[in-house]
Amino acid sequence: MEVNNNEPTINNASAQPAYIEFEGFTKEESQELTKAGVLIGTLEQIKGWARSNSLWPLTFATACCGIEMMGTGAAHYDLDRFGIIFRASPRQADCVIIAGTITKKMAPILKRLYEQMPEPKWVVAMGSCATAGGPYVRSYSVVKGADQVIPVDVYIPGCPPSPPALIYGLNKLQEKIRLEAKGKKVR
């Protein structure tokens, strides 16, 4: 759905009001639908719109990234305005923000939590530890990236990423959810 905003000019009588261009409809049909106040979309798209705007992440902070994640959730950056509200149970969560180092002992627990989350579910790897092991890449006890354990949708670089970086990553995830609902493949 794209908003086609033709600038209306006051003197020109033939100026067209703004209308939404629907896929599979002609220009006239789209204008008529907009005028009537009707929105057309597939059920999947509506589901994608709903899901992307009420993304409930599982609280999963294992290192300093968790502090940035808490800061992003608090009053100043306020993740609530995106409908992102942290949940303390995997059963209520839609996605998991892996904020921190995953050790070899933590990996089975992370996998279990991921499996306890109901479908559909997404994973955000926050920071260089969750992306590729980070500064502990030569350590004997650290997993070299969370994607060795569970599939990851969005990788956010940084050590730790700042709150704007986390918000950008989460917006990318919302974009991905909406694009996939349209039937497009997102890598």
Binding site: K104, K105, R138, S139, Y140, S141, K144
Partner: protein
């Protein structure tokens, strides 16, 4: 340090001033050493030195447990409070070292007690019977350095999984992934 603050190059060298902290620590070291030798003789101490201001005793492995028991039980010493314990791998020198740091409220001072063991089949007497707080410390040293503590009530890994291969803080450990 600027040029002005340096001591002027006199004709005769002034003797280095004695640091009162070193003086105090040396006196304390000699007191404790005297009590140990009075009880066990010279043979039990491998080395008695001052690490900066810290009196340190390197004890012989076979007398380690009895000397630490004496340090704890002797009323005039009464080193009853274990503060820390650590292990180190000195691969170039060919031994492993266990370091225990004990405090005495009677003397209002700390001492460091060290004991060394060879790297192959490394083993050291356990202090867990004297200081229950050292139980987990010794398990951690076993986990990371592979030193077997004789007489420990529960000698198994504490941090790594039971199936772990090798001891990660050994200098010749190779990371397996």
């Amino acid at each position: 340090m600027s040029e002005e603050t340096k001591a002027p190059q006199g004709t005769e060298e002034a003797p280095a001033p004695i640091d009162p902290r070193v003086e105090k620590a040396t006196a304390f070291l000699e007191t404790v050493k005297g009590k140990i030798t009075a009880r066990f003789g010279e043979g039990v101490i491998e080395e008695a030195l001052l690490a900066k201001f810290q009196p340190t005793f390197v004890l012989k492995k076979e007398h380690y447990l009895e000397v630490v028991t004496f340090l704890k039980d002797e009323p005039s010493l009464a080193f009853i409070y274990p503060e820390a314990m650590a292990g180190t791998d000195y691969m170039d020198k060919g031994y492993l070292e266990v370091y225990a740091y004990i405090h005495s409220f009677v003397m209002d001072a700390d001492i460091a007690v060290k004991v060394r063991t060879e790297r192959e089949n490394a083993s050291v007497p356990s202090l867990a019977s004297l200081f229950p707080g050292y139980n987990w410390e010794e398990r951690e040293i076993f986990d990371l350095l592979g030193i077997n503590f004789e007489g420990h009530p529960d000698m198994r890994r504490i941090m790594n999984t039971d199936e772990w291969n090798g001891h990660p803080l050994r200098k010749d450990y190779v990371v397996q992934d």
